[in-house]
């Protein structure tokens, strides 16, 4: 009887030991640095917006080009035969692929804080890239900033949101 009790205690001891091994091994898993992922996506957005496109007029930088695509989508910038909206889509795709081909992205451009009406001109929301990234369950990183764009002497705040998901 005493030996049976000892045996049961021994089984408990082995179970505790196995549990300890599992817990410790799970703790040792490599933790993906959250800070790095956020910094990467934030820098990606800001760097792309600041980059010079090579076009002139309203499209000197990517930020200007997005402003043009949002406020005057059918305008054609100097140095290009394409309308701003098409040019913005092409340019963003080109830069995003140059940075990292293994990611899915979507730029959402919306009217920013303090937005005033454009008198039936312009758009109020556009997106470039793969909008399926916003679906539930997709592990994505999001960065957001506000850019200023001038149209007919008025300054407009435009909110640019970038969502990125990395392919494994």
């Amino acid at each position: 009887m005493k030996a049976q009790t000892t045996m049961i205690l021994l089984v408990f001891l082995i179970m505790i030991f196995t549990g300890l091994v599992i817990v410790l091994l799970s703790l040792s898993q490599t933790v993906v640095r959250e800070e790095y992922s956020d910094l990467y996506v934030n820098n990606l957005l800001l760097s792309i917006l600041k980059t010079n496109t090579g076009y002139t007029d309203r499209c000197e930088t990517v930020s200007d080009l997005i402003g043009c695509a949002f406020l005057t989508p059918s305008y054609t910038c100097g140095g290009s035969s394409l309308e701003c909206r098409t040019l913005a889509e092409q340019t963003l795709e080109e830069y995003m692929n140059m940075v990292n081909e293994n990611m899915v992205y979507c730029f959402n451009i919306t009217s920013g804080p303090g937005w005033s009406s454009l008198d039936e001109q312009g758009l109020y929301s556009i997106s470039f890239g793969d909008s399926s990234i916003w679906k539930k369950g997709i592990n994505r990183r999001v960065a957001r900033t506000v850019i200023q764009s001038v149209h007919e002497g008025l300054e407009y705040n435009i909110e640019v949101t970038l969502a990125v998901a990395f392919r494994k």
Binding site: A3, T6, M7, L10, L13, I14, F17, L20, V21, L24, S28, R33, E35, Y36, L39, Y40, N43, L44, L46, S47, I48, K50, T51, N52, T61, Y95, M98, V99
Partner: protein
């Protein structure tokens, strides 16, 4: 006879308990060695990440936060070992920085003679030294002083294990 069987049971139990205790001691010993290795890797990883953040914001390399200056990169590269030696006081040894402008041109290392017709800088210990390392990359801008424009680039920081 009964007492002999009881004695055998006790001996068997004692043996099992000793085996389990030895296994626990061995496991904990192995675990602490693993933890030490992990801690060492974490420290190297921290160094690589710190190097990335430092180089993206240091006045040695940048014009403003995360905007590198191609003239400064060239000047730092020209200083060579002297500059690296100074920074080893901050970052320790065995690290490198790499900047590659993302354009369609083939990779051309920047030197004093070919600047600004180049798109690649490697500072301090070169990446191809064959050692295992911790590497971080991040998109940044590089200001091209001669062309007066901002290009998109990838900044890579690495620390060797």
């Amino acid at each position: 006879m009964k007492s002999q069987a009881g004695l055998m049971e006790y001996l068997l139990m004692t043996f099992f308990i000793v085996v389990v205790i030895v296994a626990i001691v061995l496991f904990l010993g192995w675990w602490s060695v693993m933890e030490m290795n992990l801690e060492q890797k974490k420290i190297i990883d921290e160094r690589a990440f710190f190097l990335l953040k430092y180089s993206g914001n240091s006045p040695y390399f940048t014009r403003e936060g995360w905007v590198l200056d191609d003239a400064k990169l060239n000047a730092v590269k020209a200083l060579g070992e002297n500059f690296c030696e100074k920074l080893r006081g901050v970052f320790g040894s065995g690290w490198f920085l790499e900047v590659r402008i993302l354009d369609e041109n083939p990779e051309v290392d920047c030197t004093y003679t070919n600047y600004p017709d180049c798109n690649h800088w490697v500072l301090c210990e070169p990446k191809s030294s064959g050692k295992e390392g911790y590497i971080y990359t991040i998109p940044v801008n590089v200001y091209r002083n001669v062309f007066r424009r901002y290009d998109i680039a990838i900044l890579t920081s690495g620390v060797y294990a």
